[in-house]
Symmetry: C2
Subunit: 224 residues, 2 copies
DNA sequence: CCAAAAGTGTTAACAGTACACCCATGG
DNA sequence: CCATGGGTGTACTGTTAACACTTTTGG
């Protein structure tokens, strides 16, 4: 029987708070890297028999996220990012990490609290995360996740996972702006997304968003 | 000590032969699925100690490809695709497969011959691969690889990995056409790729491509 | 000289950009 | 009534798509 690697799932968790892109870091309760910041994650549960082979990778990701941060399973958008497997990336033994990124609606973000192997858990701005002070190769994972969402935001529907279920156009615009780091012309952005309405991808929702000034119409993402 | 999964790397290998997109299948020499068609791959070599943790995932992929098909290591373009880990995808035990896709220049394609755990190895047209007769979940892996290269071909440089080192514009166009399944206007396609020349991404190479009719200029991919 | 592919030119349609402007609301 | 963001109109610009056309070769 040949030796096998340990396999973990790790998650880069994003949300938007105060029109700022945040990511979720936990403080490690156990060695290695005890006390250091890390992204949530943990080992995949594998069965001992051919019949019962354990949980799926995505289930493991949902479970670890839920255990360490209190976010309810199924409430966040999850997508596999990349598998990191460089020998030596964990000092104990060979560990592969199947990395996922998660998008959390701002309405859920306040639910986060530390649990499981996490001594602490909190949202950190992507512009000021402690690049050099993260456990393992988590800085590298994080960079790749950022690159990925920046690349995907304007040709996929992921932006809709970072706004409340019903949202105003300017809330959606704020998501794009904070992820791309640029600003968009409100009128042009508006038209671009209203084309989605004629295509049936979004629909107007009842109610208005009242935010001090003129109330805005709200929309709901329907799907493709 | 918790049970660990076995970890394999599997490869979806593409080339172009006779203006047709082909992929590489092998015939399995060993159970499970002995005698069935499969994509090349094998287990990652993992060390027994913390000091010596074994080979990297990409090295494992290069090694397995070389062993089973005779393609020289380092001669093909490799990129990680996705990690498949559904419990039960291997009847023996829990096995994760870190899938890669590989692009082989048509000049190298004839070097392929079966070796290692492969009883046979050959190129099959993507339009007629034996969808229902593949081992494990290899059909699913294959579909995802196709989707990926189709999505990436027109905003990345992967097309240059499927032509000889020096190529004519129409050879490059043929690659795009066969992957996208559409046809492009020769004039428009030409201009689009000549913009890359002014950007220094491709440069004209000495010689011409003589193919029956009017000879075509040849180019070389330089990089970004 | 003819067929066929290489290579060039021209135009219309369209999407993105910039920016001017009106509208509705809370303070 | 005014400041502010919501919402609309429009002119300009660059890119793409369609297609007609010329050039160069082998047979």
């Amino acid at each position: 029987m040949y030796p096998r690697p340990a396999v973990a799932v790790d998650l880069v968790v994003f949300t938007i708070i105060d029109t700022d892109l945040k990511l979720l870091l936990i403080s490690r309760k156990e060695p290695p890297f005890k006390g250091r910041w890390a992204i949530p994650g943990g080992f995949v549960r594998v069965g001992r028999t051919a019949r019962s082979q354990g949980e799926s990778l995505e289930s493991a990701a949902q479970r670890e996220l839920s255990e360490e941060t209190g976010l309810p399973e199924g409430a966040v958008y999850l997508e596999q990012l990349y598998t990191f497997g460089r020998p030596g990336r964990d000092p104990r033994t060979r560990v592969l990490s199947v990395a996922y990124y998660a998008l959390v609606r701002p309405t859920l973000a306040p639910l986060v609290h530390a649990g499981g192997d996490a001594a602490d858990a909190g949202w950190v701005s992507v512009t000021e995360f402690p690049r050099g002070k993260l456990a393992f190769d988590h800085a590298e994972i994080l960079e790749m996740a950022l690159e990925r969402i920046r690349g995907k935001i304007d040709y996929t529907d992921i932006a809709f996972e970072l706004v409340p279920e019903t949202f105003s156009i300017s809330e959606l615009r704020a998501v794009h702006e904070v992820i791309q780091g640029t600003s968009y012309d409100p009128g042009n952005f508006r038209r671009r997304f209203l084309r989605m309405q004629t295509d049936g991808i979004i629909e107007q929702a009842p109610g208005k968003r009242i935010t001090g000034k003129r109330p805005a119409r709200v929309y709901r993402f329907v799907g493709r």
